[in-house]
């Protein structure tokens, strides 16, 4: 089943065109990898899907459908609740671990204290962080380590009860152990969520993505099952990039 359908998407920052006529379908419950060198439009793709590009005053043409419904027909707050975004650098908001995670849910609903506790605990369990922070829920979130902060960001997104989780190079600043933990978390969560994973680390895409798309200068060069992309890509440029000849 198609979760996110992107049709003839163009995105402009002033005069710079960041995405050029992208058409792409993302299936339910898959991890969809997006690879490509810097400035290839990977992050712009994510920012288009949850309409975050609007705060940068960018301009978009084309259509994006979530479960068959045009994202411009959805209230933007609801769209962003359903499509979570996790950034490359973990950014924790000032305040406690608990406050960080409850921030999203509290924007969308009013909760009783025990319901909110429940949400926070479920999200932390799902992000594999509960055991490490269960005694530190009221400590400032900035006291956590980098890897813990990134899993906190994942938990913060999960707490909103999203359908699609987009990750923008979620492991770029992390050590291998933290990276492994996050990848394991994703593989586990894939049963319930759809992932779009932008990564600079082609090996990461090869390890966990079901399908992978290769972007270059705002164009979608090719998309296929990860195994095919990483072993026998159709396009020479994909092959060059994967083999590290550029980018």
């Amino acid at each position: 089943m198609i979760k996110v359908a992107i049709q003839n998407l163009n995105l402009f920052y002033d005069t710079v065109q960041a995405l050029k006529n992208i058409s792409l379908d993302i299936q339910n419950n898959e991890i969809f990898g997006v690879i490509g060198p810097a400035n290839s439009g990977k992050s712009s793709l994510l920012r288009a899907i949850n309409r975050l590009y609007e705060i940068d005053y960018a301009r978009m043409t084309g259509r994006i459908l979530l479960d068959g419904e045009d994202i411009f027909n959805l209230p933007v707050n609801d769209l962003r609740r359903r499509v979570g975004l996790i950034f490359a650098t973990p950014v924790v908001l000032p305040g406690s671990v608990y406050k960080n995670i409850s921030y999203g849910p509290k924007l969308h609903n009013t909760f009783k204290k025990n319901e909110l506790d429940e949400r926070v605990s479920t999200a932390l369990h799902a992000a594999n962080l509960w055991d490490e922070v269960k005694d530190r829920l009221w400590d400032s979130a900035s006291t956590l380590s980098g890897g813990q902060q990134q899993r906190l960001c994942i938990a913060r997104t999960l707490a909103m009860d999203p359908e699609v989780i987009m990750m923008d190079e979620p492991c770029s600043g992390l050590d291998p152990v933290s990276t492994t933990k996050i990848e394991a978390t994703m593989l586990e969560l894939k049963k319930q969520y759809t992932f779009i994973l932008v990564t600079n680390n082609t090996k990461q895409a090869a390890r966990i993505a079901d399908r992978t798309a290769f972007f270059l200068s705002g164009e979608l060069i090719e998309v296929d099952i990860s195994k095919t992309i990483f072993t026998s890509p159709r396009d020479q440029r994909t092959d060059d990039y994967i083999r590290g000849r550029f980018g």
Partner: protein, 280 residues
């Protein structure tokens, strides 16, 4: 033969020069405070702080002026804080850093440099006469509010600008609206900076003479309403000293004024640190 100073020597000279400059600044500051305390501390007594002013200030205490100062300052802050912070939020969050923002910022900077007596004159003509508020706590407070507004706006603007853009992105990406983001993320994060501006404003307002003498007047009674005329500590001190009524009482008043300013700063910084410790 040319005379040259070696790099090591020039380092030492620079160090000594900077040390001397810092020392002069600190010494002058301490000298002023110690000098005033030295002359005024003897005047301080419970009676001086709680008694009515008698015989134009030659006798009695300064209780009415303490109340007057607090009321005028609180009124000014109560007006200037929402206006100033609101303007700063608008400038940073709702204009795209364009012409409007530059014009308003420039205007605020110019306003900050206007001598306080001009504000006094403006307050007298506009609030006291035109709006018919008379010499009153309201007129004085409004005038001071206008005077400290630029400081509050500019410091709040800088504090809000300093909130990382990523915080806003996070809030939006979690489905927060603009108002959610401003109220729940931007303002709490920039609060210490905003408070700094307000503290600076309080400092200016408490110590201001020229702007309030024309607008709040110099009545010596205990104010009964916001429409009462009152005499702030700074004005009281000015009149005592200028008209040669009583130098000891003048120094006593100055001492109280300085203690109030120090206390305001101390309390505000404590609050700020407690706040920072809780949120970061």
């Amino acid at each position: 033969m040319t005379f040259r100073i070696g790099p090591r020597t020039s380092q030492i000279i620079a160090y000594i020069l900077l040390l001397v400059m810092t020392s002069i600044t600190v010494i002058v500051l301490f000298f002023i405070i110690v000098y005033i305390f030295n002359h005024g501390i003897g005047q301080l007594s419970l009676e001086f702080l709680t008694d009515r002013t008698r015989e134009m200030g030659k006798e009695g205490g300064i209780f009415p002026s303490i109340i007057g100062t607090l009321l005028v300052t609180m009124f000014a802050i109560a007006v200037a804080t929402p206006l100033g912070v609101g303007s700063a939020v608008y400038l940073v969050e709702y204009t795209r850093g364009g012409l409007i923002r530059r014009i308003i910022s420039f205007g605020a900077d110019c306003l900050a440099g206007v001598p306080s007596i001009i504000f006094g004159l403006f307050g007298f003509i506009f609030f006291v006469i035109k709006l018919n508020l008379g010499w009153s706590i309201i007129s004085g407070g409004l005038t001071l509010a206008v005077m400290i507004l630029p400081t509050v706006i500019r410091t709040a603007e800088e504090a809000i600008k300093a909130v990382p853009h990523t915080y806003r992105e996070i809030s939006y990406s979690l489905g927060g609206g603009k108002l959610d983001t401003i109220v729940k993320v931007v303002l709490p994060t920039s609060l210490p900076g905003i408070l700094t501006g307000i503290i600076l404003g309080i400092g200016r307002a408490v110590g201001e003479t020229a702007a309030v003498i024309f607008t709040a007047g110099s009545a010596l009674g205990i104010p009964t309403s916001l429409f009462s005329s009152t005499r702030t500590l700074a004005v009281h001190f000015y009149i005592l000293a200028r008209e040669g009524i009583s130098m000891p009482k003048a120094y006593g008043t100055a001492t109280v004024l300085i203690i109030i300013i120090l206390a305001v700063n101390f309390i505000a910084y404590r609050l700020m640190h407690r706040f920072i410790a809780r949120y970061y």
